[in-house]
Each structure stands twice: as structure tokens, then as C-alpha cells.
């Protein structure tokens, strides 16, 4: 059999239109595998593959399949969140519309925000990283494969839980930020807000798991020779994101458990009559909430840095400055949270500090943008759909960025806070700064995931519909906000004069929906009929392009050794690889932190059902905690057993290893 393997692609590539019949791309050549390679491949497939059928699927710990599930689940939630947005825009398209009543509307806009922020944006970014980061650093899997599986199942269970509650009229209805006292025990009866509080727990556990995986994989499992200054910028972005997750998530977890406790067991964290304070909630939530938006945005920056080199044929200019910008953004994002509270009764002197910090954070992002523009200038640019979305990022995100600097100012925020101006700002930065890069990444890495190219023609339609739709839908909201339209209203009077701009905005929403439908069509059609892609259809420079498309379960037949930042561009067709790792057991290589010198061989665990069991136990624990505090006790017992069996040594694997070792040393 033959395996297509990429040639160092320094040739200019033209944009190709998609034809229905697959045409073998001309960039790469077919390479014959030697017999020894064939043997090795069979053995590796045996070692690293999953068992067949449903049982194998449930037990899988391969980062490739976990990440794919994660991404698909996240996109399903994106669709649901988009539906909710569509309903909101339908209701608001006319004054005094009676399409949706106030109670249902409150649930819908809360679910829109909660779904998009907790169930789509963060999970999809970490999922993409869970797929790509190990490959980009030359590892076969993440550092803790079973924990990775656990993280996915916990996320899935949490997401299913909140949507089942939605079907039961028990969706949270106090906003995605759930301010007390409205979300407190007196003003939100029933179990809606409790559902929200426990959803936070599920998504927070999943995010922390993913962050741990990324950090340890990047720090300890890099290919030999990939010193810290040779790590791809996308990987740096994900490391920064992961550290942000680790520091930010506990804050909202604490806050949500305080809220759950106030509602369930009569604590008084937010009860000012007994010494608590509503503002405590705001601080706890926004200390998480502001880094959260950077957790969503920084991976977008990483994706841009991954795509620009392939389409400009040169590395991104100013690598050290780019890394510094990412790290600075990460740090500074923790110093901004009070800008969400400028209209609350907190001292004004402190507010000014946060204005300064919120203004300053534009500097590292600005520098990154200048470096990308410089890269484009110095490169030889060609356009395909991923690059179109990159340009779209510049256009849309910068609008959001400048309105962000506007609302960073206390004086102006007094007018703009909690109005549609902020809605416009946040959608510009999230759509421009996260969704556009994400779609660029999907178009870019789809060949790697599936072995097929997405249609360029549909991709162009997707892009243009989306960029037009986003601007038509959200630009009028800037004006609406400053004309007095506040957020979270289910209707408005005709006398306010907000009708025409709302109608325009709703029309824009329709365009966005059409654009995303085109994306879905492109996705499903190309899965079956897309042009076959080789290993490296775009001519990328990072290690994920040195695997087959889609990667086989073992990812790298031989673990690479790198000597530069752009391994696939500078190392020609002769590659140095790691020797001495066994292929009959799951062996990985651990390297040192700074210079990635080989340190020791690490065994990777076999597939296991216990992560799923532990996730179910976690689910039982937190779902029953919505109704009774005893749920935590019962769930803990179940979790204990699940973890007990999770950690049970795999005697067969150990025996196989020892047998192999004594053979090797004999």
C-alpha cells in the first residue's frame, strides 16, 4: 500500500475550485512503505487502536477520537445556541411582538448566553487544542488520556442535563451571569438557577481537565529538540489559555457553589441582611468572567498564527514578541474584571485603575495584529477560505476591539453598560475574534481530520454571508444601545423608535443563519464527496502536517526530532526520528521542560471504561445536588468506587512490559 507523504512545499499554490470527482492533488507524491514499515504500522495499529464497536467507542481514550467528539458536540451546542439567538431576534424584530412571552424569553436568552459561553466557545477551543497540540509538539497522545476521556464525558453529561432541564421548563432564566439577588433563593423560586449553578460545575471540571492535559503535554511530552522557543505559536496560545482556565475557573466554581448553597441549605453568602453582599457575587463571577472571554479569544489568536504562515509562505514575524504578547494578554486579563461593574456602588478611585488596565490590554493584541500585517506584507499571499476568514477576523475583531476600548472608559460605560452597545461589542469580538478564526481553523484542518478538503466555493459563500450577516446584525446595535435600548428585554414600545434598526438586525441574523447552513452543507457534503487531501494540502510548517490525513491511531509512525520552529519547511525529506520506543506497548517519551531533551520513557494507559463511569458518578453527584445536599454524599461514594477501579493496575499490560524489557536487555 502507499501512503501519501508531503513534500517540503515551497512552491506557490493556486486556489483550486472544487470538482465533484476527487482529483489527486499535485503537491505531494506517493511514497512506498517498506516491508519493515508495514510491520511496524501493523504493530502500532494494534497497540494504539481502539476496540471495535460501541464498547470500544465508549472505552476510547485516544485524543483523536475524544477531541473529535468534543468538537462535534460543541458545534451541536453552537447550533442550539444559534437557534436560541434566532428566536430572540425573531421576537425583537418588531415592537410589542407576542411571539415569545417574558418567561420563555428569559429562559431563551439565558440559555443562549450559557450555551455559547460554557457549552460551545470554551469547549470547542480546548477540543481543537486537544486534537492538534499533541500532534504539533510531536506526541502520540495527551499526557493523561483517561482523564481526557473523563473530561469529555463530564462536559457531555452537563450539557445534556441543562438541555433536558430546558425541555422540562427548568432552564435557568436569570441571565448567563445569574446576578443575585434576582438569582437568589427569594426571587428565583424552583430549580432553574440551581440547574445553572451545577452546569457551571460540569463545564468547569471539563475545562480544568483539558487545561491540565494541554499544559502537561506541552511541558513534558514535546518532541526532542523542540525547545520552548521552537514551540508553534498556536501551542503557546493554548498554554496561556490553559493557565488562564486554571486560575479563572475556580472563581466561578466557588461563586456557583455559594449560590447553590444559599439556595439549598440556607447559607447567607449573598444575603446583605445577614452580612453577605450581592456585589460579592459580581466580583466572584467577573473575576472568572473577564478571563473567560480571553480564554475564548486567545485560542483564536493562536489559530491565526497557525494559518498565516501557510498562506503567506513565511513564518510569523516577531516570534518572541508574539509569545510575549500572548503571555501579557493572559496576565492582564485578570486585572480587568471590575469594568463589568462600573455602574455599581464601588469606589471611583478603584474604577479608574480598571479603566487603565482595560485600555492597556489592547496593546499586546495590537502588536500581534501589526506583526501579522507585517508577515502578510513580507510574504507571498494566496487566498483560500481559511485566509478569507483570517481577513474577516481583522475586519470584524478590530471593530469590536475599538468599541471595547470605548466601554473601558468609566464615563462612557455609564451610558453604554447593559445596553445593546455592549451586545454589539461582545458579538463583534467573539464572532470576529473567536468564531471567524475557528471557522478558518475548521477549513484549514478539516483535511487533516478527515482526509478531504472542504469545498472552496461553498467556503466563499459561507464567508461572505457570514461577514455581511454579522455586520448587518450587530452594527445597528451600537446605535440602539446609545438610543436607550437596554439588554435582556423581551419587547419594547413602538414609541421608542427602535423598531427599524431591530428589524435590520434581525435580517442580519437571518443572513448569519443562512451562512451557517451553507457551512453545515459544506461540512456534510465534503465528508463524503470532498476532494481527497494528502498529508499537507496547504503546505503548513508544523508537525501535525507530518501525519497522514486523517491520522492513524498511533499518529506518528516514528516520533520526530525537531531542529527549528518550522520543521516541515526546513528539514527537507530526511527526518531525524526517535528510536528505542517500543511499538508493542503504549510507550511515549517524556522530555525536559526547557530544551526538550529526552528524559524517560512513559507508559500510556490502555483504553478504559472507568473514565465514563467516573463521569456518570460525577453526574449523579451534581445533578442530585440540585435537589438535595445528600446527592453530594451519595455521588461521592459512587465516584470513589469509579476512581478506585480507574486506578486499578493493568496486570496484563504490566506483564507485557516486563516481558518485553527483559527481552530487550537480554
Amino acid at each position: 500500500m502507499t501512503v501519501a507523504r508531503g513534500v517540503a512545499p515551497l512552491l506557490p499554490l493556486e486556489v483550486e475550485t472544487v470538482r465533484p470527482d476527487p482529483v489527486a492533488p499535485q503537491v505531494w507524491e506517493e511514497v512506498e512503505l517498506t516491508d519493515a514499515d508495514q510491520e511496524l504500522r501493523k504493530e502500532l495499529l494494534d497497540t494504539w487502536g481502539d476496540n471495535p464497536g460501541l464498547w470500544g467507542w465508549l472505552r476510547s481514550t485516544s485524543h483523536l477520537s475524544i477531541a473529535k467528539r468534543y468538537i462535534i458536540t460543541a458545534f451541536l451546542f453552537f447550533g442550539l445556541g444559534g437557534l436560541e439567538a434566532g428566536l430572540i431576534r425573531l421576537q425583537l424584530s418588531q415592537p410589542e411582538n407576542s411571539f415569545i412571552g417574558p418567561d420563555r424569553y428569559n429562559q431563551i436568552f439565558t440559555m443562549h448566553g450559557t450555551t455559547m459561553m460554557f457549552l460551545f466557545a470554551v469547549p470547542v477551543m480546548v477540543a481543537l487544542a486537544l486534537y492538534l497540540v499533541p500532534m504539533m509538539v510531536g506526541a502520540r497522545d495527551v499526557a493523561f488520556p483517561r482523564l481526557n476521556a473523563y473530561g469529555y464525558w463530564v462536559y457531555l453529561i452537563g450539557g445534556l442535563f441543562v438541555y433536558v432541564q430546558f425541555l422540562l421548563n427548568t432552564a435557568p432564566d436569570a441571565g448567563w451571569f445569574s446576578y443575585v439577588p434576582l438569582a437568589g433563593p427569594e426571587f428565583s423560586p424552583g430549580k432553574r438557577v440551581d440547574t445553572w449553578a451545577q452546569l457551571i460545575t460540569f463545564t468547569e471540571i471539563a475545562a480544568l481537565v483539558a487545561a491540565t492535559e494541554i499544559i502537561v503535554t506541552v511541558f513534558k511530552h514535546r518532541a526532542p529538540g523542540m525547545s520552548l522557543n521552537r514551540i508553534p505559536l498556536y501551542v503557546w496560545a493554548m498554554v496561556v489559555t490553559s493557565f488562564m482556565i486554571i486560575f479563572a475557573m475556580p472563581s466561578v466554581a466557588t461563586g456557583s457553589q455559594f449560590l447553590a448553597a444559599d439556595r439549598l441549605i440556607d447559607t447567607h453568602f449573598f444575603n446583605h441582611a445577614e452580612g453577605g453582599d450581592s456585589l460579592l457575587w459580581q466580583h466572584l463571577f467577573w473575576f472568572f468572567g473577564h478571563p473567560e472571554v480571553y480564554i475564548i479569544f486567545v485560542p483564536g489568536l493562536g489559530i491565526i498564527s497557525a494559518i498565516v504562515p501557510a498562506f503567506t509562505r513565511r513564518p510569523v514575524f516577531g516570534y518572541p514578541v508574539m509569545v510575549l504578547a500572548l503571555v501579557t494578554t493572559g496576565f492582564m486579563s485578570f486585572g480587568l474584571w471590575v469594568h463589568h461593574m462600573f455602574t455599581t456602588p464601588i469606589p471611583q478611585l478603584g474604577q479608574s485603575f480598571f479603566t487603565a488596565a482595560s485600555t492597556m490590554i489592547a496593546i499586546p493584541t495590537g502588536v500581534q495584529i501589526f506583526c501579522w500585517i507585517a508577515t502578510i506584507w513580507a510574504g507571498r499571499t494566496r487566498f483560500a477560505t481559511p485566509m478569507l476568514f483570517v481577513i474577516g477576523f481583522f475586519v470584524v475583531f478590530i471593530i469590536g476591539g475599538v468599541t471595547g476600548v470605548m466601554v473601558a472608559s468609566v464615563a462612557f460605560d455609564q451610558q453604554a453598560h447593559d445596553t445593546y452597545f455592549v451586545v454589539a461589542h461582545l458579538h463583534y469580538v467573539l464572532l470576529g475574534g473567536a468564531v471567524f478564526p475557528l471557522l478558518a481553523g475548521v477549513y484549514y484542518w478539516f483535511p487533516k481530520f478527515t482526509g478531504r478538503m472542504l469545498s472552496e466555493r461553498l467556503g466563499k459563500w459561507n464567508f461572505w454571508l457570514l461577514i455581511i450577516g454579522v455586520n448587518v446584525a450587530f452594527f445597528p446595535m451600537h446605535i440602539l444601545g446609545l438610543e436607550g435600548m437596554t439588554r435582556r428585554i423581551y419587547t419594547y414600545l413602538p414609541e421608542t423608535g427602535w423598531g427599524p434598526l431591530n428589524a435590520v438586525s434581525s435580517a442580519g441574523a437571518v443572513i448569519i443563519v443562512v451562512g451557517m447552513v451553507v457551512f453545515a452543507i459544506n461540512f456534510f457534503w465534503s465528508l463524503r464527496r470532498g476532494k481527497t487531501a494528502g498529508e499537507n494540502p496547504w503546505g503548513g510548517e508544523t508537525l501535525e502536517w507530518a501525519t497522514s490525513s486523517p491520522p492513524e491511531s498511533y499518529v506518528f509512525m516514528y516520533l520526530p526530532v525537531v531542529k527549528s520552529r518550522a520543521p516541515l519547511w526546513s528539514e527537507g525529506s530526511e527526518r531525524v526520528v526517535v528510536g528505542g520506543l517500543r511499538s508493542d506497548v503504549r510507550d511515549t517519551l517524556t522530555t525536559t521542560l526547557m530544551d526538550a531533551e529526552p528524559d524517560h520513557r512513559q507508559s500510556s494507559p490502555a483504553p478504559s471504561i472507568w473514565p465514563l463511569m467516573a463521569a456518570v458518578a460525577t453526574g449523579v453527584m451534581f445533578i442530585s445536588a440540585v435537589f438535595t445536599p445528600w446527592g453530594l454524599v451519595v455521588g461521592s461514594v459512587l465516584l470513589f468506587f469509579a476512581l478506585f477501579f480507574w486506578g486499578w493496575p493493568d496486570k496484563a499490560d504490566q506483564a507485557k512490559r516486563l516481558a518485553g524489557e527483559s527481552e530487550a536487555t537480554a
Partner: protein, 183 residues
Amino acid sequence: MKRAGVRAVVAAGVAGALVLSSCERENRGYGEEPAGNPADAASLTPLQPGPTIRVTAGRGPYDENAYKVNEGKFLYSAMNCVGCHANGGGGMGPALMDENWIYGSDPRQIFSSIAQGRPNGMPAWGTRLSNDQIWRLVGYVRSMSGQLRKDVAPTRSDDMFYGPSEQRAKELTPKNATGATER
């Protein structure tokens, strides 16, 4: 493919069942009023001529509606029920969180007590509160002695703490005026 089809049908069935059993607990029911005035139908005492007819305690229309019961809690302090009944412990008026019900613990009997007024100072609220408002109060009053499910009963208010919330109230078996228990 066939397995996928079976799975899809099962999933749809579960989703459908869930939707149909859509939670009464969270139903806001704005503008809905329970029909009729039950004050006429409720008897105040099990004593009557002829053979004894066992009275089984009924259910209030809002026994499963956390929103309405919480609104009842709001009305309880807004209408100054706390002035005589405190937060269930009583004072000038009888305690509402114990098992003794002078005029009956059936929801319709509680409704009558509130609507018609009672001797020794209980005002007649029938002309001042709508049926819906009185039913909310009935639900809340019942929650004080743990008659409602834990997920329906209200939790603490954002005021100074006076004791465990109704959600944590012990469920007490009501005794009617003659000391006989009603269930």
C-alpha cells in the same frame, strides 16, 4: 444503520416523554386563575348528621408549583400575616407550622379560613385578594408544616434569618380540631 435508527427512536421517545411531563414546578401561569370559589364547598368540621363520610385531604392547585408558592410567601409578608402568625410560630394568631389546624388542614378549608375570616381576629380576605392570590397563600401556609415537596417549598428570603426555611421544615401530619388525624 438499524442500530442507529433504534437509538434515534428511543431518544425521541424519551425527549417526547420529558416534554409532555413538562415541569409543573416551574410553570409561571401568568394570568391564570384556578376556577370557582371553593370556600363554598369546604366543610369546616368532619361532624355531620348521618353516616360518617371520610374526608380525604385534597390537593391545592399550586402544591407542585414552586413559583406560586414563592409568590405566596411574598404575599404572606406583604399582607402582614406575619403580624399575627409570625413566620409560622404564631403570636396573636395560632401557629401555622405545627400540626394543629383549628379549622381544618385541607387546602379548601385553608382557603375558606383566609377568604372568610375566622373568629378572634382573622380578617376576611375574600374581597381583598383574588382567588389566585389566596391559593398561593394556601400553598405557602402548607409548606410551613412540610406538606409540600422539598423542591417546591420556598427557601430562605433575603431578610434577617428567622429559622430554617420551609424547604427544610419537617413534614408534620395534620390534626384537625377534634384531634383526629387527617390524611
